[in-house]
Amino acid sequence: MRRLIFAFLALSFLACSPARAQLTIEIVGGAGTTIPIAIVPFENEANWPLGITGIVAADLQRSGLFRSVEAGILPRPARAEDVKYGDFRARGADAAVVGSMRALGDGRVEVRFSLLDVVKQTQLVTMTYVVTPAQFRATAHRIADVIYEKFTGDAGVFSTRIAYITKQGSRFELIVADADGGNPQAIVASNEPLLSPAWSPDGSRLAYVSLENKKPVIYIQSMATGQRQVLANFRGSNSAPSWSPDGRRLVVTLTREGGSQLFLINADGTGVQRLLTSAGIDTEASFTPDGKALLFTSDRGGTPQIYRMTIATGAVERMTFEGSYNASPRATPDGKGFAFVRREGGRFMIAIQDYATRQVQILTPGPLDESPSIAPNSRMIIYAAQQGPRGILAGVSSDGRVKQRLVSPAADVREPAWGPLLR
């Protein structure tokens, strides 16, 4: 662990520290219907301490859309040709996965799997990966992505990463982990609060806000090198960064000209450009997926409500009308609507609104739910919640049916940001 503490700054940064307390994901509610899938342990899988099929099964189970079925067929089929569909059918499986692992002698391993539709008795896909044992987890997530996509039609997000902030005592860390909570790495640590992590669209950089300078300042940090740069450190507060879909600019909230107002800024910190002028608060802006508009929170109407600004024309349209507190809008990547925080009866809950119908669905119970971040396939929303005295992360499907809880054994967890699909 490379770690330097600068006493006079009362602040330290970690480049890379494995063995963070890992989040464990619990399913607390499932979808109405689930696809029963039999995942047969791969041939020779037991030769390696960390297998693959266990992670594939856990990924699919966690999505709430699949249910593992114990096949228990002996001898275990390893290739599509060996499969007797009737055996799987008899055990209630609609889908089956078989495969094999083979050491190539140079330290690498050939991983082969086939996905079968048991009902239609057809082979859906066969794929081969040549990987090192260190890549087993990543390979398992890729296999789970393929299976998820074949059966649901949506991209799988098991290979994506999430960023979040932990607070333990007076220590704050910005953590990046696999979407299942595995492999957590602290990329920033500070004795002052960190908030609002935002992924660049290519996943190579994270913008975030730090109070280490006794005021909110926005930084951008490279995932590959750990190098960081000040994005905005103007007079007053600098916060709420969000990237444009092309990764060249960010929208931020600055108070340098008085009040909390929206500005565009190039990713290198140049070209600051004011977007709007309002008498009240404008903040929490984020781009729509086409990059042409922004959703943001403003109290220009007397209470915090969500507005949409068309960037080219500057036209602003109010999006939420019910309730006295609607904030933190995040456009869904499918372009159909946005997730946000609604306060109702003193409870803060995550909700989703459809552009076309204007219909709002409340997805979570509160009482202090916030910071919604949407999976790149638009199917899940991860958010921060309060459980007793603890901050935790939770997940909910965008139809409200699947509910997950991401529990950290040691720290308060908050401010989740779901990373992009990396293809």
Partner: protein, 185 residues
């Protein structure tokens, strides 16, 4: 506190060339050679801009500065409290705000920073903006009462630095607050 001294020295060093305009009290475009540094060195915190608006020495000298610390002087009171979702400075805090405004008016070289805070309810970023609005409300009143714009920087901690961690009305009330901090403190 060494950070303060270092920050103050840096800004004092550039103060001579930053006497025009309210936006020029400190480097606002922070892309000097220190702006890019490996996170492992903590280098991005080395800019003098960290102390924007709170640097400088009170022109009134040691006597004026000690008034800030005298527990019998109203200047030792720094906290302005707010109602839920509100950013109006209540009448009971006006004497306190006025005292600090007069102090800045009498000490034109003095600088202050006003830090806005909120309770834990509401989203983090909206609370940063709400805390900013509270700090701005105090600043506006101080300017009306004699302080000048360039003397005061307003920033917000939102709900990120609660003085009380409880989830009850007493904790919330304590955290809905703007704090006046004078340069060098």
């Amino acid at each position: 506190m060494r950070k303060w001294i270092i920050g103050a020295l840096v800004v004092v060093a550039v103060a001579g060339c930053s006497s025009t305009g309210t936006q020029d009290a400190a480097p606002v475009d922070d892309k000097g050679p220190t702006a890019t540094a490996p996170a492992t060195t903590g280098g991005a915190t080395t800019s003098g801009a960290t102390t924007t608006g709170v640097s400088g020495t009170p022109a009134g000298g040691a006597g004026a500065a000690s008034a800030l610390k005298d527990p019998n002087n109203i200047l030792s009171k720094r906290n302005v409290y707010f109602d839920y979702d509100q950013f109006v400075v209540k009448d009971e805090y006006k004497p306190l705000v006025e005292a600090h405004a007069k102090y800045l008016q009498a000490n034109r070289g003095a600088r202050a920073i006003i830090q806005g805070n909120t309770d834990e309810r509401g989203t983090r970023e909206y609370n940063i903006a709400l805390g900013q609005k509270r700090a701005d409300a105090v600043k506006k009143l101080m300017i009306l009462l004699g302080a000048s714009e360039i003397q005061i920087e307003t920033v917000s901690f939102g709900k990120e630095k609660p003085r009380r961690e409880g989830h009850d009305e007493a904790s919330w009330a304590e955290n809905r607050r703007a704090d006046i901090v004078h340069a060098g403190e």
